[in-house]
């Protein structure tokens, strides 16, 4: 059966989209059929990691939400990004971006959209593209759309930084996910200053939330240097950060 994985963070700037892209790619490399939906319709961004520019996105999730197309018509086959990497047979990777057109973004902000339609869209995508995994890159914070994503997910990955504001917001998200009975909740701590204390940071945070910490990622110069110009695990397959990402991907259901 297919799995839906939501990647969420309470605040922006945690590296949520980067983590989503990496987990999706690492899962696809195992020979899985994987889709990524950018539901961050107010500030889309994951398409950049796959080399899309503003003009390059013709159909987007927005078109489906306004009833202008079927959801699978907004899916871009980005499997070729896996070329040159050891990939198990059957791998496929699709991206459903959000529209980058400011008019579209403004419409979402002004009118909102039918969240129930989003749910139908997820199910339709899984069916039409025969997906093993659907990764949802959610909007930061809590709104109807993120709650829906959390409610329908088999696993929720919450990304946070080791700072007070993220701690508080993460606590709220964890409580909401428990109320919605999300089967798996895991934390990924990102942008940790000193890599040598990763274990201590992870242990402390895991104990505080009573939620497993699937990985602790350092604030890496190499990530900063890549500057969202690619998917990190594909650019740096031998990197220590990629090893941590693989560890997180391995803990997904």
């Amino acid at each position: 059966m297919s799995k839906i994985i939501s990647v969420h963070s309470f605040r922006g700037g945690t590296g949520k989209s980067n983590l989503t892209a990496n987990l999706a790619v690492l899962t696809a490399l195992r020979g899985m059929r994987v889709g990524i939906v950018d539901t961050d319709v107010q500030s889309p961004g994951i398409h950049v990691l796959f080399g899309f520019e503003e003009g390059g996105v013709e159909r987007a999730l927005n078109d489906y939400l306004w009833g202008r197309c079927a959801v699978e018509e907004a899916a871009y086959d980005v499997t070729p990004v896996l070329d040159g990497h050891p990939t198990a047979a059957g791998a496929a990777l699709y991206l459903i971006p959000s529209s980058l057109r400011t008019g579209e973004i403004a419409r979402v902000l002004r009118e909102g959209y039918d969240v129930a339609r989003l749910n139908d869209g997820f199910r339709e995508l899984v069916r039409a593209l025969k997906l093993d995994y659907l990764f949802i890159d959610t909007h930061p914070g809590v709104n109807e759309e993120t709650l829906l994503s959390i409610a329908i997910s088999d696993a929720l990955v919450i990304v946070l930084r080791a700072d007070h504001q993220d701690y508080q917001g993460t606590a709220v998200t964890v409580d909401l996910a428990r109320r919605l009975e999300t089967p798996r909740i895991m934390l990924v701590v990102n942008k940790v200053l000193a890599p040598f204390d990763a274990a201590a940071v992870g242990a402390q945070i895991g104990a505080s939330y009573q939620v497993p910490v699937a990985g602790v990622l350092p604030l890496s110069e190499d990530i900063v240097r890549l500057a969202s110009a690619g998917v990190f695990c594909l650019v740096h397959p031998q990197h220590a950060v990629t090893d941590v990402l693989r560890g997180v991907a391995a803990q997904l259901p």
Partner: protein, 274 residues
């Protein structure tokens, strides 16, 4: 008669010839000393520096700095002082081979009072001890015999000797300076031992620059350690503090909505419907 070799170059006059020979010998000895110093830096100081930079245990690092310096100049004893926030030199590691003393680090705790770097009343720099002199001036200082030293105060040393029966003679104090020139501590070595006779001798002036090189690397290693330690403590201080009252209120604000209640009821069905 024509003689082979370099003497062709020597003046004909015997007196002048001897003088030139002496000058050449002195120059050869100088080159020999430079070579030995170079070898000491390359073969001893640099590998020690690299090892120090990787240190993960602070006390072991401090101990190693002193022991390596002691070995390098064949000293019987030595002290590593670190400058405290109160502007004093605190005894951190003390070692003396012939007395079998090992204090600080892996040894027993040290209860020697710290050496103030300033006079408490006047605020004037304290240069009475060799260690404080080195710290205040940011320069090395050697004393051949503490009992006949002029300009330094050795009452602490003399009291130590009376108590232990030791004879503190030659001293070398080298400041530990950070890259920006700040003195963070002092290495003080006592009683250089002549490796052949075993007698206590003055510190060889040739070894001073080598110990200074070591102290520069030691200071860098200490700074790296302290910076990392500071970061570690900062991270440990980043306790996961959650305002539970606020958390409950924020959660309630969301869960009390009709949308959430409806979603809560539907969540399981939504997951199962796929």
């Amino acid at each position: 008669m024509k003689r082979p070799g370099g003497d062709d170059m020597l003046p004909a006059d015997d007196g002048a010839r001897d003088e030139t020979r002496a000058a050449l010998r002195a120059q050869a000895a100088h080159i020999d000393r430079l070579e030995r110093r170079f070898a000491a830096v390359v073969n001893a100081v640099i590998p020690i520096g690299v090892a120090l930079l990787g240190a993960r245990d602070y006390h072991a690092l401090l101990e190693r700095i002193l022991l390596e310096a002691k070995t390098l100049c064949g000293a019987d004893g030595g002290t590593l002082y670190l400058r405290s926030e109160a502007d004093q030199l605190e005894f951190v590691i003390v070692r003396n081979d012939s007395l079998g003393i090992a204090l600080g680090g892996s040894g027993a705790p040290i209860d020697f009072p710290p050496l103030p770097l300033r006079d408490a009343a006047s605020g004037a720099p304290n240069t009475a001890n060799v260690a404080t002199w080195a710290a205040v001036n940011g320069a090395s200082v050697a004393v051949d015999d503490a009992y006949h030293a002029v300009g330094f105060e050795f009452s602490g040393t003399l009291a130590f000797d009376r108590r232990t029966g030791y004879r503190s003679t030659s001293f070398l104090a080298v400041p530990l300076q950070s890259a920006d020139g700040r003195v963070i501590g002092v290495l003080q070595l006592i009683n250089a031992i002549d490796p052949d006779s075993g007698a206590v001798v003055p510190f060889d002036p040739e070894i001073v620059p080598v110990v200074e090189s070591l102290s520069t690397l030691a200071a860098a290693a200490l700074e790296v350690y302290l910076r990392e330690d500071h970061l570690r403590r900062e991270i440990r201080a980043l306790h996961v503090k959650i305002d539970e009252v606020k958390r409950a209120r924020q959660v309630a604000e969301i869960t009390d909505t009709d949308y959430f209640r409806e979603l809560e009821q539907k969540a399981r069905t939504l997951r199962e419907r796929r």
